[in-house]
C-alpha cells in the first residue's frame, strides 16, 4: 500500500472517536478522556511532522461537544430528586346495594303516550320508505306498451337473424367484433341483447374465447370444444 493512500493516523483508534461524530453520540461521555486524546493527538502529529490544521479543528470541535455532553449529564445529576409519589388514596371496598322490591310508576298509558311521539319521529327517519320508492320512472313511462314492445323485439331479432345468416355464409361463424364494426356503442349493446334473445331461442350459438375475450356467433346449434365457454 502506498504512503499516499494510507489513512492518516487520527482515523485510527483511539483518536477516531474525535472524527466520527456518529460514534460519539453512542458513547457514554464519561468514558472519554478528552485530555488524553488531545495530548496524544498533538504529540503524534509532532512525531510524524504532518501538521493538519483541519484535523486539529475537528478534534477541537469534537472535544467541545464531548465536554458539553458531560456538562449536561452533570446538570441532570444535580437536579433535585423527584418527590416521592404520594401513597395511593384509600379506595374503600365496594358498597353492595341492598336488594329491595320497588314498584315503579310507569304504566301502559306512559308507554303509549311516548309511542305517539316515536312514530311521528319514525316518519322523518324511515329510510326503508325512501328506498321502496321506485328509483326509475315506471316501465310504462319509458317503454311502449308491453305487447308492442314484444312485437318490436321480435322484428328486431328477425332482422338480426337475417343479417347473421348472410354474414356467416361460407365461414359458418362470425366474430362479435366484426358484427359491430363501425356502429355506435348503444347500437352495439342493442345487438348484443338481441343476440342473447336469439341464443335463448336456440337460433344462434355463442361462445367466448377466454384469452382474447372475443365472442363468436354461429347460426344454429353448434358443438364446441370443451375448453371454450358457451353462453
Amino acid at each position: 500500500m502506498s504512503t499516499a493512500t494510507r489513512k492518516p493516523f487520527y482515523l485510527r483508534p483511539p483518536w477516531n472517536i474525535l472524527f466520527e461524530i456518529n460514534k460519539l453520540e453512542k458513547l457514554t461521555p464519561w468514558n472519554v478522556n478528552i485530555s488524553y486524546l488531545l495530548r496524544s493527538f498533538l504529540s503524534e502529529m509532532e512525531r510524524t511532522g504532518k501538521v493538519d490544521f483541519r484535523a486539529s479543528g475537528v478534534a477541537l470541535d469534537s472535544s467541545a461537544l464531548i465536554y458539553l455532553m458531560k456538562s449536561k449529564l452533570l446538570l441532570t445529576l444535580q437536579e433535585p430528586p423527584a418527590p416521592p409519589k404520594p401513597p395511593p388514596d384509600f379506595i374503600p371496598p365496594p358498597l353492595f346495594l341492598p336488594l329491595r322490591h320497588e314498584l315503579t310508576s310507569t304504566t301502559i298509558e306512559h308507554l303509549l303516550s311516548v309511542l305517539d311521539e316515536v312514530l311521528k319521529g319514525e316518519k322523518l327517519h324511515r329510510i326503508d320508505k325512501v328506498v321502496s320508492q321506485p328509483v326509475l320512472p315506471a316501465a310504462s313511462d319509458i317503454l311502449p306498451q308491453f305487447d308492442a314492445f314484444l312485437a318490436e323485439l321480435d322484428l328486431q331479432m328477425e332482422k338480426l337473424y337475417k343479417l347473421l345468416r348472410e354474414k356467416v355464409k361460407g365461414a359458418g361463424i362470425i366474430e362479435f367484433s366484426t358484427l359491430i364494426k363501425g356502429i355506435d356503442r348503444i347500437e352495439a349493446v342493442n345487438k348484443f341483447i338481441l343476440l342473447l334473445f336469439l341464443a335463448q331461442d336456440g337460433k344462434v350459438s355463442l361462445w367466448q374465447n377466454e384469452e382474447t375475450e372475443e365472442l363468436y356467433i354461429a347460426v344454429g346449434k353448434l358443438n364446441v370444444a370443451k375448453d371454450e365457454r358457451t353462453i
Binding site: 315503579t104 310508576s105 301502559i108 309511542l115 319521529g121 327517519h125
Partner: protein
Amino acid sequence: MQKTKEQSDNSQAEAKQAQEEKIKRHLRLLEAALYVAGRPLTINELCSVLSTRSKNKTKKYTKALIREYSTRNTALEILELKDERYVLQLKADFTPLVRKLVNRPLLSSGPLKTLSYIAYRQPISQKRVIQARGQHAYGHVKLLRDMGLVAAEHAGRSMTLRTTDYFADYFGLTHDTSTMKRELKRIFGEAMKV
C-alpha cells in the same frame, strides 16, 4: 338395648330437625326469589333457585309458601298463574292506599320511547330501531336487554329484537306477540282518539 333405642331416637330426631331446617331454608329461598324479582317466575327459574331439577319438589315447596302467606295476616300474597308461574304481589285492596309512595319510573323517557317502538314494531332488527331512534338507542337496547324487557336473537350479523314475557307481565299484556301487537294497536288507536 335401652341405649341403642335412645341413640336411634336421637338420630331420628336429628334427622327430622335437619329435614325441617332444609324445608325452612327452601321456603325462604323461594320467598327471597319472588320478592326481588317482583315479577312472575317460572317453575324452571324457581328450580334453579333451589338448585334442583325436580319440578315436583319445587312445586310442593312453592305451594307450602303460598299456604304460609295465605294463613299469615299480611298485605302480600303469592299467586299461581297460568303456565306454572308464580308471583309475589301486594293484595289489590292495598294498592290505592299506598300508590302515592310509588314515584320512580321504570325507565327514563329515552329508553321508554325505544321500548315502545320495539313493542309496536316487533320483531324488528336492531338496525331499524337505530335508524328510527338514533345512535343513542344502542345504549337503550342494552339497558332494555339488561332489564329483561327486551330479548335479542342473533341472525348472522343482524340482531332481531322483541319484547319478553316480563314486559307483557309488567304492562298487563298477553304473552303472544301478534295478539299483543293487536292489543297495543287497539289501545294505541283508542288513546289517539282521545
